[in-house]
Subunit: 334 residues, 2 copies
């Protein structure tokens, strides 16, 4: 089997981590790279992402031209969290009839919050006869696809609680800022209120779980999920815990027991001593899963993107999510 | 959507547990039941499986006739662990062009140990234009599909250790006998040597993991997996631990680091105080997952079978495994 030809679109921290993996792992060949940052354009990709060796690929600012000349099998798109902002880039890639794996959080499960964009992408991808997937660890795995997979052993699901606790002290500064580390309770609340501190992708994760369990998820996106439950746990901020939490009590339609509450709760915490991912399923049987130390965000996100590439190349044309594709696993090369 | 019409073939403890779930869960209609046990034939299915109500389905001993008259969408086949013994039943069902979800352990990943039967079933299923799947908690999930899914976040996998520890004191007597509870070390060793104490399905789980990681699995089935490593841990039996363990050192071909050992280790333990399932992945990143209390065997096996039915009805014709299908999740009805 020939190597999979990969083009990298977006060379921020995650994009660069993906480049390093694709460069090091068997089964891939990097054929192009795109970024609009003038400090990166024209330089060798290896140099830009901090590798000690050249990759003999020059970073280009002209996406359409680079796509035409490089003829990749797949574009890894890591430019922004926003589906709206990423639309012109997706259009350009799909016009060139190339499959996409993206870290765009809002693309991970866009059927609720961005149905118009999702339909557009689906139509363009089908026309181009290629598949598109938004993935990552969170959203994309730890707080949605993995909990959903664990329900496979249940005959009844009453409540799902997913927690992702990370000690932000060992994470990158942008991550620390993103979750509001160092703020007072008042400053934190203000940023939650104006939407500048939020957990991008949480709406998507909750919608994915709600769809899998067939509970009504429309209530989820009537208000900002970061806002929905944060008041609930704000008293913990002085102790260093700023848990964003969302509860869903809207799913009673499918509940077997009158009055039981379906709940999808998501947490993202800074300054805690213990770091872990957990999934608690109350039902039959109960299930209590914990990943000690958690799933490390940046390495793991780059890995799941790279591991998803072969799945996307095998998938039917159109926009996919981590819920409908076979779950990816470590891709050992061809 | 109309309910899925289910026929139950095999009414032992697992088959009966599946009947109870299908009878209770939305989205299904039981249209027939087959068992050869004269004590069950002719009686109402609800009565046979111990439900307090009738199901208005009479247990039949004539599979071909029952299949023709009941016209199910899917047959749940729970008669035996042996693919060889189950072949005539599979033939009869596929002649009637009906999809199959089976708990036959050897069917869960038959490409290594039963390639001839696997090819036959695949050809018959394609001809019948229906899908066939062997599944369960173990093999089928806890020690294969779930560990494989967890490698999705890894850029490198050096070693995989899967442990399933169960306190046999809280399990059914047949389970206790199956793992050799109450035997002396000598009696236990004798039963391991003559093959009467073994972990049916472990070969299949290891082959599935090995294929997913693209390591050479042929070494696995040159000898009985139960035999392969049991001497290794037999000294633990006096402390109440009889761990069946298999190591794979055959996978060096794909290892990034010279001399590192690829390892798939599976355990099944009796009389231990703690019950859990765990997956340890050494690689980048490391991952340490634990399901406290374990995945309860009988309820969970029945659940994953029922939850897999809709996946099998959507799958392409042919023989599938838990590795190639999208992982099932709780099926909430239609």
């Amino acid at each position: 089997m020939p190597n999979i030809k990969v083009m990298h679109f977006g060379l921020g921290p995650i994009g660069a981590a993906i480049v390093k993996q694709v460069a090091a792992r068997p089964g891939f060949k990097i054929v192009g790279a795109i970024d609009i940052d003038p400090a990166k354009v024209g330089r060798d990709l290896g140099d830009v992402v901090g590798l000690p060796k050249r990759l003999d690929v020059k970073v280009s600012a002209d996406a359409a031209k680079a796509l035409r000349s490089a003829k990749p099998d797949v574009v890894v798109l890591s430019t922004t969290s926003s589906i709206k902002k990423v639309m012109p880039q997706i259009e350009a890639i799909l016009k060139a009839k190339i499959a996409i794996v993206s870290t765009t959080e809002e693309l991970s499960y866009p059927g609720y919050t961005h149905i118009r964009h999702a339909r557009q992408i689906h139509a363009m991808a089908r026309k181009a006869r290629v598949a598109v997937l938004g993935t990552g660890v969170n959203p994309g795995f730890a707080m949605d696809a993995l909990p959903i997979a664990l329900t496979a052993v249940c005959e009844r699901v009453d409540r799902v609680v997913v927690n992702r606790l990370q000690d932000a002290r060992i994470r990158r500064l942008p991550f620390q800022q993103k979750i509001g580390a160092g703020l007072t309770t008042e400053q934190f609340q203000k940023k939650v209120d104006d939407g500048s501190v939020r957990h991008v992708g949480m709406t998507e994760s909750i919608a994915m779980i709600a769809d899998a369990l067939r509970v009504d998820a429309r209530s989820h996106h009537r208000r900002d999920p970061a806002e929905a439950g944060v008041g609930d746990d704000l008293e913990r901020v002085p102790r260093g815990r700023s848990r964003l939490r969302l509860r869903d009590h809207s799913g009673r339609r499918r509940l077997p027991q009158e009055g039981a509450g379906h709940q999808a709760a998501h947490g993202s915490i800074s300054g805690v001593a213990e770091t872990y991912d957990s999934v608690e399923i109350e039902g039959s049987p109960d299930l209590s899963m914990k990943i000690a130390g958690g799933i490390h965000g940046d390495v793991a996100t780059a890995s799941i993107v790279v591991n998803s590439i072969s799945r996307v190349l095998q998938a039917a044309p159109g926009l996919h999510t981590m819920r409908d594709l076979p779950l990816p696993s470590f891709f050992p090369g061809r």
